[in-house]
C-alpha cells in the first residue's frame, strides 16, 4: 500500500530525514518510535503533504501512485489521513460543517453523490459513539476551546467519518490521560480492517498496549535504525533509547 524508498527531507535547508525506507501493507499496524528530534513528526508531515518540508530525494508510492506528486488535499482524497499532534483551532467553522465539506469533497473525488442531510447525520451519530464525543462539541467552532483530550478524540472522530486507507497518528497519546487514551485507542481498533493500515507515531510504549503493532520501527537521527515486533516497544520502555544510540554507533 505504502512504499517509502530512501526518503530525504529537509526544512529551511536543514536535513531531518536522512534515508527512510518503509513498507506498509493492508491490514498492518506500524509503530514508529524514537527520541525527541529524531524526525518522527517530520515523517508524518511529509506523508500528509505539508509544504514547509522539502523532499530532497527518494520516493513514496501509495497504492501504486507517486504520492509526492499530489497536493495535501489530493492525498486525503486518495485515503491518507493524518491525526495531528496539535489539532488546529478554527474559529467560525464548526466541526459538523467541516466534516460535511470534507466528506463530500472526498466522495466527489470517488465519483459518489454528496451525502444528503439525513445520511450525513446518521453517519455522524454512529461515529460519535465510537469516540464518545458529544454532539454539542461538534456544533461548536472546530477545536476552539476544546481540552487536549477532546481535540484528540475529535481527530479520531474525523478519521472515523472519512474512513481513510492509511491513517497516521502523530503522537496522538501525548497529553492524554489514561481514560482518554483508552477511548482513542478503542476507536482506532474498531476502525481497523484488512484493507486499511495504521502508522502510529509515538515516543512512549503505553499507547501500544492498546493499539498493538505488527511492526515497531525505531527512528533515530532521520533513519530507521531498528525494526522488530511489539516486544521491541517493551524493550525501549524498559531500557530507554540510549542502547539504540549506542547500537547505531552515534552516542
Amino acid at each position: 500500500m505504502l512504499s517509502i524508498k530512501d526518503l530525504h527531507a529537509s526544512i529551511e535547508g536543514k536535513e531531518i530525514l536522512k534515508g527512510i525506507n518503509l513498507e506498509v501493507k493492508p491490514g498492518e499496524v506500524h509503530a514508529i518510535m524514537g527520541p525527541n528530534g529524531s524526525g518522527k513528526s517530520t515523517l508524518a508531515s511529509v506523508l500528509a503533504g505539508r509544504e514547509d518540508f522539502t523532499v530532497d530525494s527518494g520516493e513514496i508510492t501509495f497504492k501504486g501512485n507517486d504520492l509526492l506528486e499530489l497536493e495535501a488535499d489530493e492525498r486525503a482524497k486518495e485515503g491518507v489521513f493524518l491525526a495531528f499532534q496539535y489539532p488546529i483551532e478554527i474559529p467560525g467553522v464548526t466541526t459538523t460543517n467541516f466534516m460535511k465539506t470534507a466528506l463530500n469533497k472526498i466522495r466527489e473525488h470517488k465519483g459518489l453523490e454528496p451525502l444528503d442531510a439525513v445520511s450525513f447525520l446518521s453517519r455522524m451519530k454512529e461515529k460519535m459513539k465510537l469516540v464518545e464525543i458529544d454532539q454539542t462539541l461538534l456544533s461548536r467552532s472546530l477545536n476552539e476551546g476544546f481540552s487536549g483530550g477532546e481535540k484528540k478524540r475529535n481527530e479520531i472522530f474525523q478519521m472515523a467519518m472519512l474512513e481513510p486507507t492509511l491513517s497516521i497518528l502523530d503522537e496522538t497519546d501525548s497529553g492524554l490521560d489514561i481514560d482518554a487514551l483508552r477511548i482513542v485507542a478503542n476507536g482506532v481498533n474498531k476502525l481497523k480492517n484488512e484493507d486499511n493500515a495504521t502508522i502510529v507515531v509515538t515516543h512512549y510504549q503505553r499507547l501500544l498496549d492498546y493499539i498493538v503493532p505488527d511492526f515497531v520501527h525505531v527512528l533515530f537521527d532521520g533513519k530507521i535504525v531498528k525494526t522488530g515486533g511489539k516486544e521491541l516497544a517493551h524493550k525501549l520502555e524498559e531500557k530507554g533509547y540510549d542502547w539504540i544510540k549506542e547500537e547505531a554507533g552515534v552516542a
Binding site: 503533504g49 509544504e51 486525503a76 467541516f98 470534507a102
Partner: protein
C-alpha cells in the same frame, strides 16, 4: 480635462451653492435656509478636507476628487433610471419600505411609500422642515458631535432632496426601511448629497438600510449625511451597504444621538468603490444605553475604504462594542480609525473595540488606528488591532482532510467574516451579503 487642486474644488462648491441658492424659490427666509447659509460659511473657513488634516491623512478625498472628477461634464438631472433597472439592485426577497434616491433626490415613482406601516412617517426633507418644524428645530443639525467635519457642513448647505423619517413612540416597525441611493453616471459625472433626519421616538423599534450604487462609467461623488436620533428605550438597527462602481467617490456620515436605555446596532459593509469614507459618529447622552458597531470591508482591485468611527461616552453606565474586520486583496487599501471618548462623568463605562485584517496580496495595505481617550477612572475599556495573512496551519488542516485550497481559503475567510455577518438580523439582506462574499472568495 485638467486636474483640480483643493482651491479649485472649494471654489467650485461655493459656486455650486450660489447656483443652488438661486434655484430655491421663496425659501430665503425659512429656518432651513438659514442653516444652509451658516453651513456654507463654515465650509468656507477651511474648505474641502485635505491631506494635512489628520483625519484625512490616509484618504485624500480632495486628490481623488481632483483626479477623477470632470466639472465640465457634470449634470445631476440627466438621468433615465427605470424601475426595471433599479430593481436589479434591490435586496432580493426583502419586504421593505422602499425609498429610492436618484442623484441624492427622493424619486417618488421608484419608491414604495404610498402606504406606510402604522407609526411610520416619511416625507421629503424640504417640506418636512415646515410640517415638522418642532422636530427640525430640536434635531436638525443642532447636536454637536465629535467627528463632524467640513463634508458634513457641505452636505447641510445643499440640503434638499433627502428624507425625514419619524417613528412614533411605542411603534414596533418590523418592515425595514430600505434606502437605495442611485447615482446615474451613465451620461455625465454626478454629485449627490442626500441628507436625512431620522427620529425614533421613545420605546420604538425600527431598522434602516442604506445601499449605494453608481450606474455607468462616469465619476460620481456622494457626500451623504444621515442623522439619527434614538430616544429612550428604543432599539434601532442601522445597516450601510456599499457595492459601488470603480469610479465612485463617497463620503458618508452617520450621526447618532443616543438617549437612555436604548440600543443602537450599526453594521457597515463595504465591497467596492474608488474611495469610500464612512464616518460613524455616535454620542451617548443618557445612561444605560448600549451601542454596537460592526463592519466588514472585503476589498480587491484598487478600492480604498476608510472607516472612521467615534463613540462619545458622555454619561455613566453605558456599554459600547466595536468590531471591524477587513479582507484585502489586489491593490486595495483599508483604513480604520476608531475613537472612543470616555468623559469624566462617564464612570462605569464598558467600551471594547477591535479591528482585525487579513491581507491576501503583496500590494494591499491596511492602516489602522484604534484610539481610546479616557477621562473617567472607573471604567473597563480595551482596544486592539491585528493585520495578518491567512493562517497557513489552518489552511493545511483543512486541506489535510481533502478540502481543496480554494474551498479551504473561502471557508476560512467566511469564518473570519462570520461574526460580523451574524449581526445582520434581516435574513434576506444577510443572504445577499453572504452570496456576494462567496462570489468574491
Amino acid at each position: 480635462m485638467s486636474k483640480l487642486i483643493k482651491e479649485d474644488i472649494d471654489k467650485f462648491f461655493i459656486g455650486q451653492f450660489e447656483a443652488f441658492e438661486n434655484s430655491l424659490n421663496g425659501e430665503s427666509k425659512k429656518p432651513l435656509h438659514a442653516k444652509r447659509k451658516q453651513a456654507i460659511e463654515n465650509f468656507k473657513s477651511d474648505g474641502f478636507p485635505h491631506a494635512k488634516n489628520e483625519e484625512y491623512k490616509y484618504s485624500n478625498i480632495a486628490k481623488t476628487f481632483g483626479k477623477l472628477f470632470n466639472v465640465e461634464n457634470l449634470s445631476d438631472d440627466n438621468f433615465s433610471l427605470s424601475l426595471d433597472e433599479a430593481t436589479r439592485y434591490f435586496i432580493p426577497e426583502l419586504d421593505a419600505i422602499r425609498l429610492v434616491f436618484v442623484n441624492g433626490v427622493l424619486d417618488n415613482k421608484l419608491s414604495d411609500i404610498d402606504t406606510l406601516p402604522k407609526g411610520v412617517h416619511i416625507q421629503v426633507i424640504k417640506t418636512a422642515a415646515d410640517d415638522y418644524a418642532e422636530d427640525f428645530e430640536k434635531h436638525f443639525n443642532t447636536h454637536e458631535i465629535e467627528g463632524a467635519d467640513n463634508f458634513s457642513e457641505l452636505n447641510t448647505a445643499f440640503t434638499k432632496g433627502g428624507v425625514f423619517v419619524k417613528i412614533d413612540a411605542n411603534a414596533v416597525v418590523e418592515t425595514p426601511i430600505a434606502c437605495y441611493y442611485f447615482n446615474d453616471a451613465k451620461n455625465s459625472d454626478v454629485i449627490s448629497q442626500p441628507r436625512n433626519l431620522v427620529i425614533a421616538e421613545k420605546n420604538s423599534q425600527a431598522s434602516l438600510i442604506e445601499s449605494y450604487v453608481t450606474l455607468g462609467e462616469n465619476t460620481s461623488f456622494t457626500n451623504a449625511v444621515t442623522e439619527i436620533v434614538v430616544k429612550d428605550d428604543c432599539v434601532f438597527n442601522y445597516y450601510k451597504y456599499q457595492n459601488e462602481s470603480n469610479q465612485a467617490i463617497q463620503v458618508g456620515a452617520t450621526m447618532v444621538h443616543q438617549l437612555g436605555k436604548s440600543v443602537f446596532n450599526g453594521v457597515t459593509l463595504s465591497l467596492n468603490g474608488a474611495m469610500l469614507r464612512n464616518n460613524l459618529n455616535i454620542a451617548i447622552h443618557k445612561e444605560h444605553s448600549e451601542t454596537n458597531m460592526y463592519g466588514l470591508y472585503l476589498l480587491d482591485g484598487k478600492t480604498h475604504v476608510d472607516n472612521h468611527t467615534v463613540v462619545d461616552h458622555k454619561v455613566p453606565n453605558c456599554e459600547s462594542n466595536e468590531m471591524y474586520k477587513g479582507i484585502l486583496d489586489g491593490q486595495s487599501r483599508g483604513v480604520f480609525n476608531g475613537k472612543i471618548f470616555v468623559r469624566q462623568d462617564a464612570q462605569k463605562t464598558n467600551a471594547f473595540q477591535s479591528n482585525r485584517n487579513v491581507v491576501l496580496s503583496d500590494d494591499a495595505e491596511v492602516d489602522t488606528k484604534p484610539q481610546l481617550e479616557i477621562w473617567a477612572d472607573d471604567v473597563q475599556c480595551s482596544h486592539g488591532a491585528t493585520v495578518g495573512q491567512l493562517d497557513l496551519d489552518q489552511l493545511f488542516y483543512l486541506r489535510a482532510r481533502g478540502i481543496d485550497k480554494q474551498t479551504a481559503k473561502s471557508m476560512l475567510l467566511n469564518a473570519f467574516a462570520s461574526d460580523v455577518l451574524s449581526n445582520i438580523k434581516i435574513e434576506a439582506f444577510r443572504t445577499l451579503i453572504e452570496n456576494k462574499i462567496n462570489e468574491r472568495l
